[in-house]
C-alpha cells in the first residue's frame, strides 16, 4: 500500500486532471477523522480518461467488494459507461467519479477547489464549503455523521 501522497503524486506525474474530494480533502482542511481511501473527481475529457485508465490499469485496479475473477476492463470506455467506480489497487483503495453530488460536474468542482502543495506536489482539493454541501447533498448516514466536524471547521476558520 502506498501513502496518499504517493498516490496523489503519481496522478499528478501522469498529468491526470483531478480534484481530491471526500475524507482526504476533509483531512487536509483539518478534520480529524481517519479515512482509508482516496476519493477523486476527474475531468471526463477523453484524453484524461485515457491517462487515468492507463495509470489505474498499471496499478492493477479491480472492483472493491466483488469476488475476484469477474470480467472487468479498465479502459477509457469504462469511465464513459460507469463514471463512478470504487476500486482497490496495488497502491490502496481509490474511489473515482466525474461529478460530486451537491457541487456538480468536474468544471464546477474545480471552480470550488483550492490548490494545495504538499512537499513538491501541487494538487487541487475541494474547498470546505463545497465539501459541506457535498456531504449534505449525499444525505448518506456516514456523510451526515461528518457534517458537525466540517461545519465546526468552517466556523473556526471564519473566526
Amino acid at each position: 500500500m502506498t501513502l496518499f501522497i504517493g498516490q496523489i503524486a503519481e496522478l499528478v506525474k501522469t498529468k491526470v486532471r483531478f480534484v481530491v474530494i471526500g475524507g482526504v480533502a476533509a483531512g487536509l482542511h483539518g478534520a480529524g477523522r481517519a479515512t482509508f481511501d482516496l476519493d477523486i473527481c476527474y475531468d471526463p475529457s477523453e484524453e484524461n480518461r485515457e491517462r487515468l485508465a492507463r495509470l489505474l490499469a498499471g496499478w492493477g485496479a479491480y472492483l472493491r467488494g466483488v469476488e475476484p475473477g469477474l470480467p472487468f476492463t479498465m479502459d477509457a470506455r469504462q469511465f464513459l459507461i460507469t463514471p463512478v467506480m470504487t476500486l482497490t489497487t496495488s497502491t490502496g483503495d481509490l474511489d473515482v467519479m466525474d461529478r460530486v453530488a451537491g457541487v456538480g460536474e468536474f468544471a464546477a468542482v474545480l471552480a470550488q477547489s483550492v490548490e494545495t502543495t504538499v512537499g513538491d506536489v501541487s494538487f487541487w482539493i475541494l474547498d470546505l464549503p463545497a465539501l459541506v454541501a457535498a456531504k449534505r447533498a449525499s444525505a448518506r448516514p456516514r456523510d451526515l455523521a461528518q457534517l458537525p466536524e466540517l461545519e465546526a471547521l468552517l466556523a473556526l476558520r471564519g473566526r
Binding site: F4, G32, F36, P71, Q78, V118, R140, E149, A155, L156
Partner: protein
C-alpha cells in the same frame, strides 16, 4: 439486497425497477442474479427496443454462455436483423455497478431534517466533537495533516491484516 442496492446494480432508477417487476410479474425479492438478468434485459431493450417480457426470459440462457462465448446474438426470424451483445463488456459494466451497490450505496436518511438542529460550532458541540482537536489540527500545515491521514491509514491497514 435493498431496492436501492438492486437498482444501483441494474443501473436503473428505483421506479423503473418497480415497474419492471410489475410488468414481469415478479415478487419483490431483490437478489444479485436477478439484478444481472434484469440489467441484461434493460441493455437489450435500450439497444433495440425489444420488450422486457420477451427479453427477460432469455436473459438467463444468454448469460450462461459466458465465459465459453464472448458474445450473445439474437437474429430475427427472416434473418434481416441481428443483435450482438458483447458479454465481457456487459459483465464488466455490471460488475462495476455491483461493486458500487455493495461498497458505495447507502440508503439516504428519510424525512425532513430537524428544524432546530444547531449549525457550525454549536452543532459540533451538540454531537460531542472535541473542538480542541480541531483547533490543534488547524495549526498544522497541509503536509502534516496528510502525514497524519497516512499514518492512520497505515495503522488501520495493519490492524485489519492482524484481525
Amino acid at each position: 439486497m435493498t431496492l436501492g442496492q438492486f437498482a444501483t446494480a441494474v443501473g436503473a432508477p428505483k421506479r423503473w425497477v418497480q415497474n419492471a417487476f410489475q410488468v414481469l410479474g415478479l415478487p419483490a425479492v431483490y437478489t444479485e442474479p436477478l439484478a444481472c438478468r434484469l440489467a441484461f434485459a434493460r441493455a437489450v431493450k435500450a439497444a433495440c427496443g425489444m420488450p422486457l417480457r420477451r427479453v427477460f426470459p432469455i436473459a438467463e440462457d444468454a448469460l450462461a454462455r459466458w465465459p465459453t462465448h464472448k458474445t450473445w446474438e439474437l437474429q430475427d426470424p427472416d434473418g434481416s436483423v441481428r443483435v450482438v451483445l458483447q458479454l465481457e463488456r456487459f459483465l464488466s459494466d455490471y460488475a462495476v455497478r455491483l461493486s458500487l451497490s455493495r461498497t458505495f450505496y447507502a440508503e439516504k436518511r428519510r424525512g425532513r431534517p430537524r428544524k432546530r438542529t444547531p449549525r457550525g460550532v454549536a452543532l459540533a458541540k451538540w454531537y460531542g466533537v472535541d473542538l480542541t482537536l480541531l483547533v490543534e489540527s488547524l495549526k498544522r500545515t497541509p503536509e502534516e495533516r496528510l502525514r497524519q491521514l497516512d499514518e492512520a491509514r497505515e495503522f488501520f491497514a495493519h490492524a485489519r491484516v492482524v484481525r
